[in-house]
């Protein structure tokens, strides 16, 4: 005798990319037992025991028959505890306790407790977003943390607290309450730019970087305020838009950095990994399906790398491609995963091994050839991605005490928002000037000024990338001045944002 085959749908995540998983259950006469097939990992394999106990404890019936459950497609590895709930529903449907039709139309995720309660999982948000992407219009999620999934637009979220509720829901005898979307985090006021005394050059650089999304290299002796400036730069960035917040939260959930009942982020992330970070921790990695690294956790925000030149060479090289493409591609034997990595990189470094080159208060004890070797570690291609390069100077104590407070973050942030609006209007979407190509920028630049720039740079032996870098920064400077066309004064200022030479050349 052949019984009906029950199907329920779940979502497996390969990185952030969702794959539909059909949970098929079939019950037939034979020795009582449960067989789980379809590349389950350890957590999924144990799922059988949890589901059986949970079903029985909820007063539902567990068949004294042979049960086979298949997770299709069978070649896709399944990890985690999110399949407990679809598995339980499939069993209930296969044994006739809930209608087969209702089960077939159901997408579900969630972990089961032995008492039959449905428990929240960290990946609820990316699974909900994935289900929507796969065409689901309704998703059963654990009641705890359902408010998180409710942020996904166009998807009906059904919060369920235990298996009895699930059974009643599918039989049509119970209606779930509407989920309440979690609140967006209240951000404390960011560290204020007004705290930075003097340092007009650095303040200006930070403003331009925030407006154009340009990567920044801050070079200066220890204690001159590099980290302080990076925090202020972060404070100048606009709040995340809802879809950006969703993307940020999804990546953080996936990395296990965020619980399902945590509030939705409002501010862009600021990540500052320690300088002994490994390449894997920075770009992402791990066995099986690689997990997102710091680059992706800083997506849509700021990645602060202190002591850039102390980072090992492989780590520096690993940075290049993600910075160029705004995403990280990790290839493993089992999977090829893409994570977003649209970051604003703030790199800080000492100007020389001893740190005092250019410090008027202390003399540098490094020989020029050692400085040259130190500087050479910043490979050309990486250096050329750092659009704005500023050399900071330490302030004398008198300057620190005397200087008037600088312009406050709130007023600079208004200019930044204005410039970002100009860029978005020009390039379309939400693009910033960092994303613009040189050709695009050149079309909005005064032609005579471009020719002059070419002459100046050709004399200095700079690369074509350096040319593009200056153009992009000049575009942002013009945007901050509400100018449609990039003029020579903007190019001239942009040229100033690069590090001084290592040795005396004239």
């Amino acid at each position: 005798m052949v019984r009906a085959l029950a199907t329920v749908r779940g979502v497996a995540l390969v990185g952030l990319r969702p794959r539909e998983v059909r949970v098929e259950a079939s019950s037939s006469p034979g020795l009582p037992g449960l067989r789980l097939v379809g590349l389950p990992d350890a957590a999924v394999r144990e799922s059988g025991e949890r589901v059986r106990t949970a079903v029985q404890r909820q007063g539902l019936h567990w068949p004294a028959e042979r049960l086979v459950i298949n997770l299709a497609p069978a070649d896709l590895p399944k990890v985690g505890t999110a399949f407990d709930l679809p598995l339980a529903i499939a069993v209930l449907a296969a044994t006739g306790q809930v209608p087969l039709e209702a089960a077939r139309a159901t997408w579900a995720c969630g972990e089961l407790g032995l008492d039959g309660s449905v428990r929240a999982i960290d990946e609820q948000l990316p699974i909900a977003a994935g289900a929507r992407e796969l065409g689901a219009d309704r998703l059963l999620v654990p009641a705890a943390g359902a408010g998180d999934a409710a942020h996904v637009p166009g998807l009906e979220i059904v919060p369920v607290a235990d298996l009895a509720e699930v059974a009643a829901l599918l039989r049509g005898t119970w209606t779930a309450p509407l989920p309440v979307p979690t609140v967006t985090a209240k951000a404390p006021p960011p560290p204020d730019l007004a705290d930075v005394r003097g340092q007009a050059l650095a303040r200006r650089a930070v403003e331009i970087a925030a407006a154009g999304g340009h990567h920044v290299l801050l070079s200066g002796p220890p204690g001159c305020g590099k980290t302080m400036l990076a925090q202020r730069l972060h404070g100048l960035l606009p709040d995340l838009r809802p879809e950006e917040a969703l993307e940020v939260a999804a990546v953080h959930s996936l990395a296990g950095e965020r619980r399902a009942d945590d509030p939705m982020p409002r501010r862009p992330p600021l990540r500052a990994p320690h300088q002994v970070v490994s390449a894997a921790a920075l770009v992402g990695g791990g066995s099986g399906i690689p997990r997102p690294g710091e680059l992706s956790l800083a997506n849509r925000g700021v990645l602060l790398l202190d002591e850039l030149l102390e980072l090992p060479r492989p780590v520096l090289d690993a940075l290049r491609q993600p910075l160029e493409r705004g995403e990280v591609v990790l290839t493993r034997t089992r999977a090829r995963v893409t994570y977003p990595a649209s970051v604003l990189l703030v790199a800080a470094t000492n100007p020389c091994p001893c740190g005092h080159l250019g410090n008027p208060l202390r003399s540098c004890t490094c020989r020029p050839d050692r400085i040259e070797r130190y500087r050479a570690r910043l490979s050309g291609p990486l250096l050329d991605r750092l659009d704005i390069q500023v050399s900071l100077r330490p302030l004398a104590r008198a300057e620190l005490l005397d200087a008037r407070p600088g312009e406050a973050t709130s007023s600079v942030a208004r200019r930044v928002a204005g410039a970002r609006a100009h860029a978005a209007g020009r390039w379309g979407g939400q693009l910033v000037n960092r994303d613009a190509t040189a050709a695009q920028v050149r079309r909005t630049t005064d032609q005579r000024a471009v020719r002059n720039l070419a002459t100046v740079l050709a004399g200095g032996g700079d690369s074509a990338r350096a040319f593009d870098r200056v153009l992009r920064v000049a575009r942002t400077i013009a945007d901050l001045a509400d100018q449609e066309v990039v003029g020579s004064e903007h190019l001239e200022e942009a040229l100033a944002y690069r590090l001084p030479p290592v040795a005396v050349t004239a």
Binding site: C366, E493, P500, A506
Partner: protein, 390 residues
């Protein structure tokens, strides 16, 4: 008499022997020098011991050497000729007409090198000044060295230094284009690329040769820049110059060796005062304490040269040229001159809008009014119309 044949070695040495230098004597000297545990230094002692007071006709020491030479030595000396010839060197032995008189002065009781390999033009006899100092030069040190060297060279005075990075390089660069020219004394052999940034194609040494300057070394072509050898060449720097100026240096700086070599030869030593807090001021300040004359500008230098110096030429072109620099920026740069000042500080101190200040500074750099240094920007020329900084 061992009967070693020096003919072939002599033959290849003919084109690289300086005018007036005997190739056959050169051949026996080189064959001696390549023997294991033999150096030019030990030969110098040997020559003194065998009583070769008159090196031009020292048949006795030649005989002495040749009795000890073997065929192997002569063969081993052959490869030395190739790099010397490739670099256009000419060789002269102490006492030869092409060997600088100032260096040979006092031979054989002085420590003059026996052999000099000279690339570029042979050093002329005119007035010369040694400008030496630390490799770890500050912007101030490099700036002053270049300033003094520029003025000396403009006045027809040759500038001698050790070819190292830092102060030496600034002195050579300051002098290289002028009528006085410059002489580099290497701390290694001609075929060793050291210091690399200067020895590479198109580097400082190429520039010196192209402008009629001289690069000389007392070492065999492959000699590496060992510390002792590098320090020993300082005596040649001092010997080549009428006056020695120490610009910057720490307590153990090689510049102090140059100064004591100059004092031994009874030549004046000047020292440039520096920042009393800076470690790089230790050497000049110690010399000042010991009685060296202070050098506060090209006038002091030319005065010390005395009658041997031609009249000082006034500093020319572009003095005080603002090159379109806005007044507040010019004022900040002029106040700091000849020190470089970080761009950030110029922006702060000028009180101008940051963007406008940066754009103006870029324009001034393109126009050549302002020069960029590792530690900031500096006016190319003295902001006042005199030759000394205000």
């Amino acid at each position: 008499m061992s009967g070693v044949r020096l003919d072939r070695l002599t033959e290849v040495l003919v084109p690289i022997a300086a005018p007036g230098t005997d190739p056959e004597m050169l051949a026996s000297l080189l064959a001696w020098a390549v023997r294991p545990r033999r150096t030019l230094e030990s030969l110098r002692r040997l020559m003194r011991d065998t009583g070769a007071e008159d090196p031009v006709s020292s048949a006795r020491w030649r005989l002495h050497i040749e009795t000890q030479l073997r065929e192997d030595d002569v063969r081993a000396a052959m490869p030395l000729v190739v790099p010397w010839r490739a670099r256009g060197c000419r060789l002269a032995m102490v006492g030869d007409p092409a060997y600088p008189d100032r260096v040979a002065d006092g031979w054989p009781d002085s420590d003059a090198p026996i052999l000099l390999a000279m690339a570029g033009a042979l050093p002329p006899d005119g007035p010369a000044v040694a400008i030496v100092g630390s490799r770890r030069a500050t912007s101030y040190g490099s700036g002053v060295a270049a300033w003094l060297a520029g003025a000396a060279s403009a006045a027809g005075v040759r500038v001698v230094s050790g070819g190292a990075i830092g102060v030496d390089a600034a002195a050579h660069r300051g002098a290289v284009g002028g009528p006085g020219g410059t002489t580099v004394v290497l701390g290694c052999g001609h075929d060793v690329d050291y210091p690399r940034p200067h020895a590479r194609a198109g580097g400082l040494f190429d520039e010196v040769r192209a402008h009629g300057g001289t690069i000389l070394s007392e070492q065999l072509p492959f000699a590496p820049p060992r510390a002792g050898v590098v320090r020993a060449r300082n005596r040649i720097v001092a010997a080549l110059a009428d006056v020695t100026v120490v610009v910057e240096g720490g307590t153990r700086s090689g510049a102090l060796l140059t100064a004591s070599a100059a004092i031994e030869r009874g030549r004046p030593v000047l020292a440039v005062p520096g920042d009393v807090r800076a470690p790089g001021s230790a050497a000049p300040h110690r010399l000042l304490a010991e009685g060296a004359a202070p050098c506060t500008g090209p006038d002091d230098l030319l005065d010390a040269l005395g009658s041997s110096a031609p009249a000082a030429a006034p500093e020319v072109d572009g003095v005080g040229d603002r090159g379109g620099l806005p007044t507040p920026l010019f004022a900040v740069l002029a106040a700091a001159w000849p020190r470089a000042i970080p761009m950030g500080q110029i922006a702060d101190d000028s009180g101008m809008a940051t963007g406008a200040a940066l754009a103006a500074l870029t324009r001034a750099q393109v126009a050549g009014v302002v020069v960029e240094r590792p530690d900031g920007l500096v006016l190319r020329r003295s902001p006042s119309r005199t030759t000394s900084p205000t």
